[in-house]
């Protein structure tokens, strides 16, 4: 099947007359929660240290003062318990936002996410729904070591019944979190530790959402498509600038934004144009998001490809502590650049 003739992602308004403000990714997430809590009484936040402590990563800072301890509820360290409580509240029609301190800790609540939240709609024949949001950051760095440096995005994105989004910019952090809160299904919003402090223009209009299931062309190009999400998009954009400056080739970067549903069309339309693809993720690539992407691309773009699709991800080891080892394991810009040059046939 050829990719020609397929429309790229429809344009979605990124700003409007209400204007935009410069803010960090963390502030954009907070704005999304504040706006939705003002809009809908059913929305409440719960998690470890989200209230008095202002959030482990300060995403919920100030919200308890604004909305009170019932709507910004501190929990014990008890992920399976309070995430499951979110499932139960959602089944009764509430709109809980459950914050899990990092993606690593979501594993102790895995049963509630995969065996319970994800199953409700189908297993009960559509008789009851689970409109909840799970927010949690992934990512590695800062010598956090093996148990705190992981990205299991693909595990969740591979689970029917869940929706998974992973914003790379402050604007999408606000837009996707709001879309997730308004969605009638369980949505995992994967945030990212290194991006929390990144700044960007964010539209302030409370009705401007980022649709779930729609990728964005973060940078236009003609010679290679890099497909990525979350922090890998931030890295890939830098690599694209550098390679264009040094080699004069133009790299297109497709930021997936949603992992399930996956916008295969935007990816395939881009690869059909550039004829080359590199998939990048922060997680381990084997059986990961990039494995899924390569399967989709080979099917959709078999006749379009001028080179084998490559991928870059975390080295497949538990993340080590020593700085030198940690850096060697990460999907750094150097590694992305080397892979991109190989796919472009520009490798030295």
């Amino acid at each position: 099947m050829s990719g020609s003739g397929v429309a790229v992602a429809p344009a979605v308004a990124t700003t409007d007359a209400a204007g935009a403000e410069t803010m960090t990714y963390r502030e954009a997430l907070r704005l999304a929660m504040r706006q939705e809590m003002e809009r809908d009484e059913r929305v409440f936040v719960m998690g470890e240290e989200v209230g008095l402590f202002d959030g482990s990563y300060k995403v919920t800072a100030g919200l308890m003062d604004e909305f009170g301890p019932d709507r910004v509820r501190d929990t014990p360290i008890s992920e399976e318990g309070f995430l499951g409580a979110g499932v139960g509240a959602a089944m009764l029609g509430e709109r809980p936002i459950v914050e899990i301190m990092t993606l690593n800790f979501l594993l102790v609540a895995m049963d509630q996410v995969v065996n319970h939240a994800a199953k409700i709609g189908a297993m009960f024949g559509g008789e009851v729904r689970c409109p909840m949001v799970i927010r949690t950051p992934n990512g590695a760095g800062n010598q956090l070591t093996a148990q705190h440096s992981q990205s299991f995005d693909g595990w969740f994105a591979g689970t029917p019944g869940l929706k998974v989004v992973a914003p790379a910019t402050p604007a999408d952090a606000k837009g996707l979190l709001k879309a997730a809160i308004r969605d009638d299904d369980p949505v995992l919003v994967i945030e990212n530790l290194p991006i929390y402090k990144e700044k960007g223009e964010v539209p302030v209009n409370p009705e401007l959402l980022t649709p779930i299931g729609l990728a964005a062309v973060a940078r236009e190009g003609s010679d290679l498509t890099i497909v990525s999400h979350s922090f890998a998009t931030v890295r890939s954009l830098k690599v694209a600038e550098k390679i264009e400056a040094e080699h004069g080739v133009r790299i297109e970067v497709v930021d997936l934004r949603s992992l399930r549903p996956l916008d295969v069309e935007t990816v395939a339309a881009s690869v059909a144009k550039t004829n080359r693809a590199l998939c990048v993720e922060e997680g381990w690539p084997s059986y990961g998001v990039t494995a899924e992407l390569v399967a989709r691309i080979q099917h959709a773009c078999f006749d379009d490809l001028d080179a084998p699709v490559e991928r870059v991800g975390m080295a497949e080891v538990p993340l080590p502590y020593a700085k030198e080892l940690e850096l060697a394991a990460m999907p750094t810009e150097d590694r992305i650049e080397r892979a991109a040059l190989r796919v472009l046939d520009l490798a030295a």
């Binding site: 099947m1 990719g3 397929v6 409440f44 019932d70 929990t75 014990p76 008890s78 399976e80 318990g81 309070f82 995430l83 499951g84 409580a85 979110g86 499932v87 139960g88 509240a89 959602a90 089944m91 009764l92 029609g93 509430e94 809980p96 049963d111 509630q112 065996n115 319970h116 709609g121 189908a122 297993m123 009960f124 024949g125 559509g126 008789e127 009851v128 729904r129 409109p131 019944g161 929706k163 969605d183 009638d184 299904d185 649709p211 779930i212 299931g213 729609l214 949603s258 549903p261 996956l262 916008d263 295969v264 069309e265 935007t266 990816v267 395939a268 399967a295 989709r296 099917h299 959709a300």
Partner: protein
């Protein structure tokens, strides 16, 4: 002298309640027997966990619930569904995997539900329903409702982390939930004393400064009275509780288990000597309900179960072209538009077809 209709329901309200509860208990027993036959005839698949022997605990607890209260259970749930008033036709059709099953053939034996009756499942992972029931109680508090949740679990679930986490949350947040432990002495084939360091399971509530009680689960009135008292305290004072009902399951863990590898025939016979069904019937007779009346009731229920089986047999299986129905909410179709087969880049054998987003 006026003739007395010996088949009429008793008038004395106390006797009338027990009489109706006996009807439900008898329905559960006959339903389970029919389910076992249908399973062995391969009309019911998957796992099929029967609750014969546990009828007093089941019916007593549900009888104590008000209409607005909510029920969440584990997977040995046929009896709870029936006790809560789910029509036997809808339960049997679900076991058969048919369209008019209470989960439209999507859930089967372990995932019964009826939202209109406040029954929110039917959950298949041991202990997994506890955090969910806890969250429902949280939601009731948030909306200021005077309602409570009954969360049923088996004795095997008390060694799961979810038990500890849920009891702790219910206690620190003062939630209106009663954790009903149906202790039938075995978690699958493992006796409670072999599994639990504190086999007096109700005592564990003390670790959460929570009320914990044990009742004879084969005594209908004792179960109902205790559940009623604890539910009232949950509704009025937001005090969660643990209620342990000690009973016995006559059949194996599931239909596939003969139930004899870990217990003796003598033990089973001993328990059958105080069958809660026979005991409740004797209680009614002792209170003056004529045997003819009870016989007539039993015949009615037997007909009802036969009709449920006939209904399930005649009901259509869910249409295959609606395979994905219910999985995602309305409006999701558009979100998946760029991923599904039939879309320009969809892979034909990746399944999203069939009612996605409905």
């Amino acid at each position: 002298m006026a003739t007395i209709d010996t088949t009429a329901a008793p008038v004395d309200p106390d006797v009338a309640d027990v009489y109706e509860h006996y009807r439900t208990m008898f329905l559960i027993r006959r339903f389970e027997e029919a389910a076992e036959r249908q399973y062995k005839a391969a009309r019911i698949g998957g796992y099929c966990h029967l609750s014969s022997g546990q009828e007093a605990a089941t019916v007593g607890a549900v009888a104590a619930m008000e209409d607005e209260d909510l029920l969440v259970t584990g997977y040995r749930s046929h009896g709870f569904a029936l006790a809560r008033g789910v029509p036997p036709e809808a339960v049997m059709a679900e076991l058969f995997g048919r369209t008019h099953g209470c989960a439209h053939g999507r859930g089967g034996s372990m995932h019964l539900l009826d939202v209109s009756r406040g029954y929110y499942g039917g959950w298949g992972i041991v202990g997994g329903q506890l955090p969910i029931a806890t969250g429902m109680a949280l939601s009731l508090v948030r909306r200021g409702a005077r309602q409570a949740v009954v969360c049923e679990l088996g004795d095997g679930a008390v060694n799961m982390g979810a038990w500890h986490e849920s009891l702790n949350l219910a206690a620190v947040w003062e939630l209106p939930v009663v954790f009903l432990v149906i202790n039938n002495l075995y978690g699958m084939g493992t006796a409670v004393e072999r599994a639990s360091a504190e086999p007096d399971l109700f005592k564990r509530a003390a670790a959460y400064r929570m009320e914990g009680e044990r009742v004879n689960g084969d005594d209908l009135e004792e179960v109902e009275a205790a559940t009623s008292r604890l539910l009232e305290r949950a509704r009025e004072a937001r005090r969660p509780a643990v209620l342990e009902a000690v009973t016995y399951r006559f059949r194996g863990h599931s239909v596939a288990d003969a139930g004899l590898a870990y217990r003796t025939r003598d033990e089973i016979d001993e328990h059958r000597h105080h069958d809660p069904l026979a005991q409740t019937r004797e209680l009614l007779e002792a209170r003056g309900v004529p045997a003819e009346g009870l016989d007539a009731l039993e015949h009615e229920v037997e007909d009802q179960v036969e009709r449920a089986v006939a209904f399930a047999e005649a009901d259509a299986p869910p249409p295959v072209d609606r395979l994905a129905a219910g999985m995602y909410a309305q409006g999701s179709e558009e979100q998946f538009e760029r991923m599904r087969p039939g879309a320009p880049f969809g892979e034909a054998e990746l399944v999203f077809a069939g009612g996605l987003g409905e």
